[in-house]
């Protein structure tokens, strides 16, 4: 036992000391982060063209706030992401708890069909939503956009919450009942704290999915509810202005902060759980 541990440690140290492995790791990171680095770099570029770096400036960080189209799109994106994340987390958690709790006919059919929005091509899903809305004479607006986002992100919440619950002893719920808790308290005092890390990762997934969605939004957003990705897409032909780079940089910083804080919260929950 000790022998193997030692040799294992030696081996892992060897890997660390191997210069090629360091080079390899660096290449991977460069490959992953180069595009992001480029965006950040060009957000400080004095030239309007994203081709050569001419000089350093903060101008774009100021001018972007007066780009009303861009700001409106950014606002829409935040509203849609926030509302659809809340809805899909709420519905998805309820769905997962219900599927875990009850036995009923067609249960396996229902739980399998939850995967459909995940596996079918996004384009097909988007067109399906479009056809659905137009066939009942609903014109595209913020609500249709949010509904569509909830539809494709909710299954991810269900999956993360269910996998969190899969290992739980069912008698824990019964114990809560036995000790006098009603359904509501059983949920709030026992089930919810236990599944909280799963709910949080589900919510994060839903949020990212909604934030950067292009295909579904393209078909289901109304003229008044263009999101940031759609706005940028429409700018591509004329050339993307550097204030988009500036806004993107801010979004990247925001995302990193969000990721770090949720990881911290999750670690805390895990320790408590």
């Amino acid at each position: 036992m000790k022998e193997t541990e030692k040799t294992f440690l030696k081996k892992s140290r060897k890997i660390k000391n191997n210069p090629w492995s360091v080079v390899y790791a660096c290449l991977v990171y460069i490959f992953l982060y180069m595009p992001i680095a480029v965006v950040i770099a060009f957000s400080f570029n004095t030239s309007r063209m994203n081709v050569v770096f001419e000089g350093f400036t903060f101008d774009w960080y100021i001018s972007m706030w007066s780009n009303t189209l861009l700001m409106q799109a950014f606002k829409n994106t935040l509203i849609v992401a926030f509302v659809s994340t809340l809805l899909s987390t709420f519905l998805g958690t309820l769905c997962a708890v219900g599927l875990n709790r009850f036995e009923f006919k067609l249960k396996s059919l229902i739980s399998t069909s939850l995967y459909i929005p995940i596996v079918i091509p996004e384009l097909v899903f988007a067109i399906a939503m479009l056809i659905l809305f137009t066939s009942v004479n609903i014109s595209m607006n913020m609500a249709t956009l949010i509904i569509s986002h909830v539809t494709f992100s909710m299954p991810f919440v269900v999956i993360t919450v269910r996998s969190r619950m899969a290992g739980f002893d069912k008698s824990i719920e019964e114990a809560a009942h036995d000790l006098g808790a009603n359904e509501l308290h059983t949920f709030t005092r026992v089930i919810l704290p236990m599944i909280a890390p799963g709910v949080l990762s589900g919510a994060m997934l839903a949020l990212t999915l909604s934030l950067d969605d292009v295909v579904v939004s393209f078909f289901t957003a109304g003229p008044d509810s263009q999101t940031l990705p759609l706005r940028i897409l429409s700018m591509v032909k004329k050339g993307v202005s550097p204030d988009v780079n500036a806004l993107s940089t801010l979004i990247i910083i925001g995302s990193v902060l969000l990721l770090v804080s949720t990881t911290l919260i999750q670690n805390k929950l895990e320790k408590e759980g």
Binding site: D169, I172, L179, G180, N182, M194, G273
Partner: protein, 384 residues
């Protein structure tokens, strides 16, 4: 039995899952303050019975009374009983204190009182110093104590325990058996205890209900169940036993002379007629070996092996018919050499008659008619 101190009464309780009866016509009176064990092999319906008393599942038919009140339709939290679950079922996100306090918080007991009662409980189950631990940071034995404290703090009239020691190692299990028994005696709470371990049942219980395939075959004190098993199953499940088929040859007062395949034997019993077929049970410690024939007995065999198992020596004797007889004796006794021929006998009062064949045939007939009835009912319904 005085009906006043019956705290749990099961009256012809049955439970069906998908048309299969897993508990059959179970009638049982549990007295206040007693330690009653439901004993039986895995799958015989012990947990199902316990869950019906707790209120987690409803009986298909029959009635369950707690403190004289029919509890059908009452939720678990409306019954004055608490359960200690098989796998502890502690709340993983709460520490020891919060786990134990759970029931009192639900009852909205004042905070100061909760604090006091929780620390009392922690003392009672000897968990001082672990108040802030989470379940994941505790050993099986410690978790078990938390589970027991969490249930007891609600001052239930009856505590239901489903194989609470099943996951512990042997030594800890023995220790916890005694502790639980002492706890029960100290608190005077009725315990309904489920186990498949007959030794555990014999050690801890005031009374044991032996279950087999959903039927309660016998209920009695450990002494009654061990020394006077009523059925073949009880005789073979509780303790080691030799079960032998025999015919009554002649009756001499209360001495029954019987013929076994392997030879003649005798035992004390009343109410049996000549030619009647009976099963007898003889405990290994009651089987004696001698090198000379003994009055009334003519069973011969050969010693196959001695196994020294600490406080007893287990001997196997092969009868002329090929049947193996289990014999237990004290290590200090003289032991017949392996391979030697011996005469087998026992004191006539040490053999017990278990479940005669007539009864068994009767049972089979009863079950078959019941089945036929059901099928006929099914046909009728089909025609409607």
């Amino acid at each position: 039995m005085n009906s006043e101190n019956v705290i749990v009464r099961l009256n012809e309780v049955e439970k069906e899952f998908d048309g299969v009866k897993v508990v059959k016509k179970l009638s049982l009176d549990i007295k206040e303050g007693e330690f009653l064990t439901l004993l039986g092999p895995s799958g015989c319906g012990k947990t199902t019975t316990l869950r019906m008393i707790a209120g987690f599942s409803e009986a298909t038919s029959g009635e369950i009374m707690l403190e004289g009140v029919d509890v059908s339709g009452l939720k678990p939290n409306e019954r004055n009983v608490n359960t200690v679950f098989q796998n502890y079922a502690l709340f993983p996100h709460m520490n020891v204190e919060d786990n134990i306090a759970f029931g009192l918080v639900e009852k909205k007991v004042p905070k100061a009182e909760i604090k006091e009662r929780v620390s009392e409980m922690i003392k009672l189950v000897q968990l001082e110093g672990l108040e802030k631990r989470k379940p994941a940071q505790m050993s099986g034995g410690q978790k078990q104590r938390v589970a027991i404290a969490r249930a007891l703090i609600n001052k239930p009239r009856v505590l239901l325990l489903d194989e609470p020691l099943g996951a512990l190692d042997l030594k800890l299990r023995k220790q916890m058996q005694l502790e639980l028994k002492h706890l029960q005696q100290k608190l005077g709470i009725t315990f309904v205890y489920v186990t498949h371990d007959q030794e555990e049942a014999l050690t801890m219980s005031d009374r044991i209900a032996v279950m087999h395939e959903g039927v309660m075959e016998q209920i009695g004190t450990p002494d009654e169940v061990y020394n006077h098993p009523k059925t073949k199953f009880v005789a073979s499940f509780v303790g080691e036993s030799n079960i032998l088929e025999s015919y009554v040859r002649s009756v001499d007062g209360d001495l029954l002379h019987i013929d076994l395949e392997a030879g003649k034997a005798a035992l004390h019993a009343k109410g049996f007629g000549v030619e009647e077929m009976i099963y007898i049970c003889v405990r290994p410690e009651n089987v004696k070996l001698s090198e000379t024939p003994v009055e009334h007995f003519s069973i011969r065999g050969k010693v196959i092996e001695h196994i020294f198992a600490g406080s007893v020596v287990k001997t196997e004797v092969e009868l002329l018919t090929g049947q193996i007889l289990k014999v237990a004796s004290h290590p200090n006794d003289d032991h017949v050499e392996v391979g030697k021929r011996v005469y087998v006998h026992w004191r006539p009062k040490d053999a017990i008659i278990v479940h005669t064949v007539e009864e068994q045939i009767y049972n089979v007939i009863e079950q078959t008619t019941e089945k036929l009835y059901k099928e006929m009912e099914g046909v009728d319904e089909g025609e409607d």
